[in-house]
């Protein structure tokens, strides 16, 4: 198994781990962390492909994605904080007031 295959496998593993975490964990903060994990899996795949192609564009794009991810988490954490202040729990099931 060469390096690219190894890195892609790692990326897929990271993504799957993140997805699994979002799906099965019932803690908002952990779910957010898992989402970041999945995102980073995708990032890793991007960098790997960019390296394989021998182009710098992909590598630069990764930094842009970092910025977006940071901004996203900067919004998401306060939302979670506000929710917790309201109901004192991190369980997303507690916030399903609009369910049918």
């Amino acid at each position: 198994m060469d390096k690219v295959q190894l890195l892609l496998t790692l990326a897929a593993a990271l993504f799957a781990l993140g997805l699994l975490g979002v799906t099965v964990r019932r803690n908002l903060l952990v779910m957010l962390m898992c989402m970041e994990l999945a995102l980073n899996g995708a990032n890793l795949a991007l960098v790997t492909f960019a390296h394989q192609m021998g182009e710098a564009v992909g590598a630069v794009l990764v930094f842009l994605i970092f910025v977006v991810a940071a901004a996203e988490i900067a919004i998401a954490i306060p939302i979670v904080l506000l929710l917790v202040r309201r109901k004192r729990t991190l369980d997303p099931g507690a916030y399903s007031d609009l369910r049918g």
Binding site: L19, T23, G93, D97, R99, G100
Partner: protein, 623 residues
């Protein structure tokens, strides 16, 4: 702006001024505006008549082009010939004096300004009606006077009975208007114009593409609604719920003659419609007789006068039916004077007796209110047909043409109308006796207050009494002859003219004598006859149960259909049911789809994941 437009618009101005500012500016302002503008219209009408006589040709004035459809222009145009002149002068002249009378009669009413605003509004629509050249303008005026009549009948709207009377008048008129509208459609379809002079000319100039009798009957249905002829007469007696000047102005002198005016205006059509004319004559004579019999048994002073109005309108239609259009307008003219005088006299009596209207609680008033009595006497004699008062001339001419006209005159028609004339003299003098002569039956507390009315009322009564006395010397039929020629007279009847006049006078005298015989003194004989024929009397007092018949034949079935078909089946089952079913379907569907929204974030993620995986699988398989 032309004279005719100004004649019409001045009362509208009065309506706006009194309606918008009247309450703020006080009674003096209302009186000046309310009486001044109709008087100005009257003066302008006199000027217009002089211009007409000087020029000869009818004056046509286009005020506004309403609509232009293809080549046809619908104009608000005014048409002033001798017929319109007579009507305009009667409407503005009698209207003005009744306005002046109202300043006295309504003096203490708290809605003084509203009353004058309505009166002016009525005058505006009435002038639109008589001056309009096209049937369309006439119809606007026609509906407008109906509206004003409704407002004025229900003027004291706090009493539900008055409001009901107003509604009855309005709805009964709508029935007639349906016929009128159909007639208009028919004429427009045939001629492409609604200008009445053009339609008349088309009928007179040769064969036309429309049945004159059908159009004539349809228009007559409209006329019979407005002019209270059988079977649409029921509204007029109830219309007496309005203030007395209203009864005098609208329900005696002007509006109710609109039907007569319409038929006279469409004389070209009716001359070519012998069947429709025969119907007009028959309905007119029947109404005249029928209403006169009812008038005998009524005990409300205004109701007696109301039925006498219906009866006199019947006379006019009988004249129209035998082709004596000018004579019918002559009777409109004289009737306006003496009936206005009678109604206003009745108003003066009611005023003197603090609102009492029942003639069983009157009597012996001649000495206490002498001026009212004198004027009432003149007008009563005029309507009874005593020479040389106004009513004698017009009624005599109607009787003559009913007998001798080559266009449907017959001894039978004459006999019915002569019998009606007898009844007229009888019930009018019965009224006079029970109100003014004999022993006083006034209740003591009312008797204490009996007083003659103020000069604004009695002065008007005197003017109208003078006109009732001498109005017959104005030869209206002759004046209108170039426009509305009198019908040919059967040669065999000619020698009977003088004897028939003598007979008519004898009939009037007989009616008076009968009234004196029955109601003179203590009126014991009348009571005895009333006892003997209690059944007949009950039928007459209940107006032949026509109202009850209409209620049973039309009112109740309509209510039943409304309740069972329209309300339960249509409204509740069909409309409500459809909407409820739609709402239920929407709610059920929503409940089903709402289940998907479980609120479990993990489930959503899983489903998205599953969807994405399935898509990828599908792409891998198929692409």
């Amino acid at each position: 702006m032309g004279t005719l437009t100004l004649i019409v618009l001045l009362p509208l101005l009065g309506f706006l001024a009194n309606g918008l500012l009247g309450n703020a500016l006080g009674k003096r302002f209302v009186s000046v505006v309310g009486c001044g503008l109709p008087l100005a219209s009257f003066a302008l009408a006199v000027l217009a008549l002089r211009a007409l006589e000087a020029g000869g040709a009818p004056i046509v004035e286009v005020a506004y082009t309403w609509a232009l459809i293809g080549d046809t222009a619908f104009e608000i145009a005014f048409y002033f010939d001798r017929l319109a002149a007579v009507m305009t002068l009667v409407v503005t002249g009698v209207g003005s004096v009744i306005h002046i009378y109202s300043t006295g009669y309504m003096h203490d009413d708290r809605s003084y300004a509203r009353f004058f605003a309505y009166l002016n509004l009525f005058l505006f629509f009435m002038l639109l009606l008589v001056l309009g050249r096209s049937m369309l303008v006439l119809f606007v005026g026609w509906e407008g006077v109906g509206l004003a009549s409704y407002l004025l009948i229900g003027f004291w709207y706090e009493d539900p009975a008055n409001a009901a009377a107003g509604k009855k008048a309005f709805i009964t008129n709508r029935v007639g208007d349906a016929g009128f509208l159909l007639g208009m459609f028919l004429l427009y379809f045939a001629f492409g114009t609604l200008d009445m002079d053009r339609i008349d000319a088309a009928f007179m100039s040769g064969p036309v593409a429309v049945s004159a009798s059908l159009a004539g009957v349809l228009l007559f249905i409209g006329a019979s609604g407005k002019s209270a002829q059988i079977p649409l007469h029921v509204w007029l007696p109830d219309a007496m719920a309005g203030p007395t000047p209203v009864s005098a102005l609208i329900h005696a002198a002007t509006m109710v003659t609109a039907g007569v005016y319409l038929v006279a205006r469409m004389s070209g059509l009716y001359l070519n419609a012998p069947e429709a004319s025969a119907l007009v004559a028959a309905i007119g004579a029947a109404t005249a007789f029928f209403a006169a019999t009812i008038a005998i048994a009524q005990n409300d002073i205004k109701r007696v006068l109301a039925y006498s109005t219906v009866s006199q309108l019947g006379f006019m239609f009988a004249a129209l039916g035998v082709g004596a259009y000018g004579v019918a307008i002559f009777h409109v003219f004289t009737h306006a004077f003496f009936k206005a005088c009678l109604f206003l006299g009745a108003g003066s009596v009611i005023h003197a007796l603090s609102g009492e209207q029942d003639i069983r609680r009157m009597g012996g008033l001649a000495k206490k209110i002498p001026l009212t009595f004198a004027t009432f006497l003149v007008a009563t004699a005029a309507i009874a047909g005593i020479p040389p008062l106004a009513g004698f001339f017009s009624k005599d001419e109607i009787l003559w043409f009913a007998f001798a006209s080559a266009r449907g005159g017959s001894p039978l028609l004459w006999a019915v109308l002569a019998a009606t004339a007898l009844l007229t003299a009888f019930y009018m003098f019965r009224l006079l006796w029970l109100v003014f002569l004999g022993r006083s039956r006034v209740t003591p507390e009312v008797a204490h207050h009996v007083h003659e009315s103020p000069w604004s009322m009695t002065g008007v009564l005197v003017v109208l009494a003078i006109l009732s006395a001498f109005g017959g010397f104005v030869a209206i039929p002759h004046f209108l002859e170039p426009l509305l020629p009198l019908p040919a007279v059967a040669e065999s009847a000619r020698p009977l003219h003088k004897p028939l006049i003598a007979l008519a006078i004898a009939i009037a005298a007989a009616g008076i004598a009968a009234a004196a015989y029955f109601f003179g003194g203590e009126a014991k004989r009348a009571a005895a006859v009333g006892e003997r024929f209690a059944g007949v009397r009950r039928v007459l007092a209940n107006k032949y149960y026509v109202d009850e018949l209409y209620e049973a034949a039309i009112g109740r079935p309509l209510l039943w259909i409304s309740e069972h078909v329209f309300l339960r089946l249509g409204d509740r089952a069909l409309i409500d049911g459809t909407l409820h079913a739609l709402a239920a379907a929407a709610r059920g569907g929503a409940a089903m789809f709402a289940r998907v929204q479980t609120g479990s974030l993990q489930l959503y993620v899983f489903l998205v994941l599953a969807g994405a995986a399935a898509s990828l699988l599908w792409i891998w398989r198929h692409v």
